[in-house]
Every structure is written in C-alpha cells, then in structure tokens.
C-alpha cells in the first residue's frame, strides 16, 4: 500500500484507535520502512496529546445553580399552547399552498405561442423542482433537519402536487412543485 492509502489508518493509529489486525500490521510495517510517515505519525501523536491537554484545559461555562435557575425560568415561562402552534403551522401551510398555487397557475398560463418560452420549458420545469423560500421566513439552514410534506393543490389545470419543507420550529420554510 502507498503512503497515501495508509495515511488515514496512520492517523487513527496515532489517535490511539484500535485498527483491525491486518490494518494494524500494515501500518506498523509501513512506519518501520517509511521515515516520512513515521515522522508524520509522531507528529500526529503529539497532536493528539496536545488536543487532549487542550480538552482538559479549556475553561467552560459554569453550570451552577444561578444558571440552572435562569434556564428553569425559561421552562416556567408560558409558552404557546399546542393548539396555537398547530394553528400557526396550519396558517403557514395555507400560505405555502397559496403561494405554490400562484406559482403553478402562472407557470401553466404561459402563452404557448411564445417560441423562446416554449423552448426553455424543460429548464423552467427543472428549476421549478427546487425549493422556493417562502416570503417572510428564513431559509432552512443546510444543517437543520426539516420535514417535507406533500400537498395536492386543486387548480384549473388539474391537481398540482407540491412539497412543503417544514423546519424544526414547525413553520413552513420553502415549497416546490413536484408535478
């Protein structure tokens, strides 16, 4: 195996992880014969020691009773009831459906006589598959989990299926047309 192929295992070995026996043997044999990788291994091992020391050395926010009471006051604070949250979600969904329906109608009602528009229709359709951020809300960050729900919207051209992206806060964030 080459240095490049073995590098991840060498780093894991330097971090103190247990490799499988063949991998361990390959790393040990390679380190015995490759000065550059042996130096890199020592460097990575020293890095692990330094990081461990850093982990124990970094001051962290205290978790004393004062801070706990501060969080508990948030726990005690009145929050929107489940029915109000449900209403907010339903209103958001309704707004999403209206927006998607509007987009759908305007898309369907493009005049067919306009040759350039007709020529670009597939591209437009492809773009329409992307989620469109709903007005007045923030786009769902890429790292945040969301839930996608499908809705069928009746329109003059038939039923249009759309997907609405719901954030972790229960609010509709974006929508897209499926068909």
């Amino acid at each position: 195996m080459t240095c490049r192929q073995l590098t991840p295992d060498i780093i894991d070995h330097a971090r103190g992880l247990a490799l499988d026996p063949p991998g361990q043997r390959a790393v040990v044999d390679h380190l015995a014969s490759c000065a550059a990788c042996a130096a890199m291994f020592e460097h990575q091992r020293a890095m692990s020691r330094a990081l461990r020391r850093l982990a124990g050395d970094t001051p962290i926010p205290a978790g004393d009773d004062i801070r706990l009471q501060k969080v508990l006051s948030a726990f005690d604070a009145p929050r929107p009831s489940a029915s109000r949250i449900k209403l907010a979600v339903e209103l958001s969904l309704a707004a999403s459906v209206l927006i998607v329906a509007g987009l759908s109608v305007s898309w369907k009602s493009e005049p067919p006589a306009r040759a350039p528009q007709a020529a670009t229709a597939p591209a437009a359709a492809a773009n329409a598959r992307d989620f469109i951020v709903l007005p007045g809300v923030e786009a769902l960050p890429e790292f945040e989990h969301g839930q996608v729900i499908q809705v069928d919207i009746p329109s003059a051209a038939g039923v249009v299926r759309a997907e609405v992206l719901i954030g972790q806060d229960g609010l509709a964030r974006a929508a897209r047309l499926v068909q």
């Binding site: 590098t7 550059a36 020391r53 970094t58 962290i60 926010p61 205290a62």
Partner: protein, 197 residues
C-alpha cells in the same frame, strides 16, 4: 421521587410533559459536555455560556419531537448545540478570524506540538482549532476534544462515518499546517487525507 435515576430518554419524555425536575436533571447531567462543546467551538466563554443556555431552552420546545432509540440523548443535544453555534457564527459574533484564511494563520515561532507544556502553545492550539472551517472544527471538537467515536460524531452531525473521518483528518492536517507549516511540509510530503466515499 426524584428523576435523577432515570435514563435520558425518560427524562426527555417527562420534560415534554412539563416535568421541571426532569429538566433540571437533564441539565445537570449534560451541562458539562454541552458547555465544553460550545466553548471549543466558539473560543469565547461568554458566547459559549449563551449557547448553552439557548440549547437547554431549545430542549424545552424540542422535547416532544425527540424520538428515543433514533439517537442518543447526548448526541441529540450536541446536534442542537451545533445548530446554535452555527447560528451564532452566521450572526458574526464568533471568532473574527477568517475561516478560510488557511495557511497564513497561526504560525508560531516554535513547535507547539513538540513542547505542549507551555500555556501559550495551548492558546495557539486553541486559536487554531477555533479558526478551522466549521465542518472540520466540529469533527475535531467532537472526536478529539470530546472523545466521541466516529459513529457517535456522525450521528450528532447527521453525516456518514467516512465523512467524519475524512473531516477529522483534514482538520488535523490544517491544524498541523497552521501551527508549524515548515515541519509539516518536511515531515510528510503525502496528502494527509483521502476522500472516503
């Protein structure tokens, strides 16, 4: 009867029903891990404190959506903390250091890895960690500083194990390059990472 003997899943289920004691127990149980994660990710104690507070406030509302068995409670908390760290970063209240500044940052005059006993070397290492691009920083903080396994870090960050492993290795390579670029170049000419599908 107290709730401190209950497993995390049950604590969170009780929190969802408004159990204040369960919430306090969850806080006491996991505060240190979340605080350490936030501190390492932010490099700022006051900001880390704010994030810890926000994480546990978020738990109040998120508890009903927690699904036991899908993920470990601590990893779930790490995931929430990660989101709050990223939001703080988006507001530009975190490290003023340009994340992509790459090679030019944090070169120190001596080798901090070879002589880690001195406080300033740990400071340099801390600054180098905080300056890592966030995807690499998350991997270094979770795997190296929090000593989570690849599998747990992957669960917390919602990505594949191979992704975490390659991000960690890339992050360590960036740290080495930032701390002592000459030595790194000389020591190992091969790339320090490979792409794992």
């Amino acid at each position: 009867m107290g709730t401190d003997h209950l497993p995390d899943d049950l604590l969170i289920a009780r929190i969802a029903k408004g159990d204040r004691d369960a919430f306090a127990d969850l806080y006491r149980r996991h505060h240190t891990a979340i605080a350490r994660f936030a501190a390492h990710m932010c490099g700022s104690l006051p900001l880390a404190e704010d994030i810890v507070h926000e994480v546990f406030v978020a738990v109040i509302d998120s508890a009903p959506r927690y699904r036991p068995g899908e993920t470990d409670a601590k990893l779930w908390l790490f995931g929430i903390a990660r989101n709050h760290v990223r939001r703080a970063r988006a507001k530009r209240v975190m490290s003023p250091i340009d994340e992509e500044s790459g090679d030019r940052a944090f070169t120190v005059d001596v080798d901090p890895v070879g002589d880690i006993d001195r406080r300033r070397h740990l400071d340099a290492l801390n600054r180098a960690v905080v300056s890592l691009p966030v995807r690499y920083r998350e991997a270094v903080v979770l795997c190296d500083l929090q000593e989570q396994s690849y599998a747990d870090a992957a669960a917390a960050l919602g990505c594949a194990i191979g992704t975490i492993r390659s991000r960690l290795h890339r992050g360590r390579a960036l740290l080495a390059r930032r701390l002592c670029p000459e030595r790194t170049e000389r020591a190992c000419p091969v790339p320090v990472t490979r792409t794992i599908p």
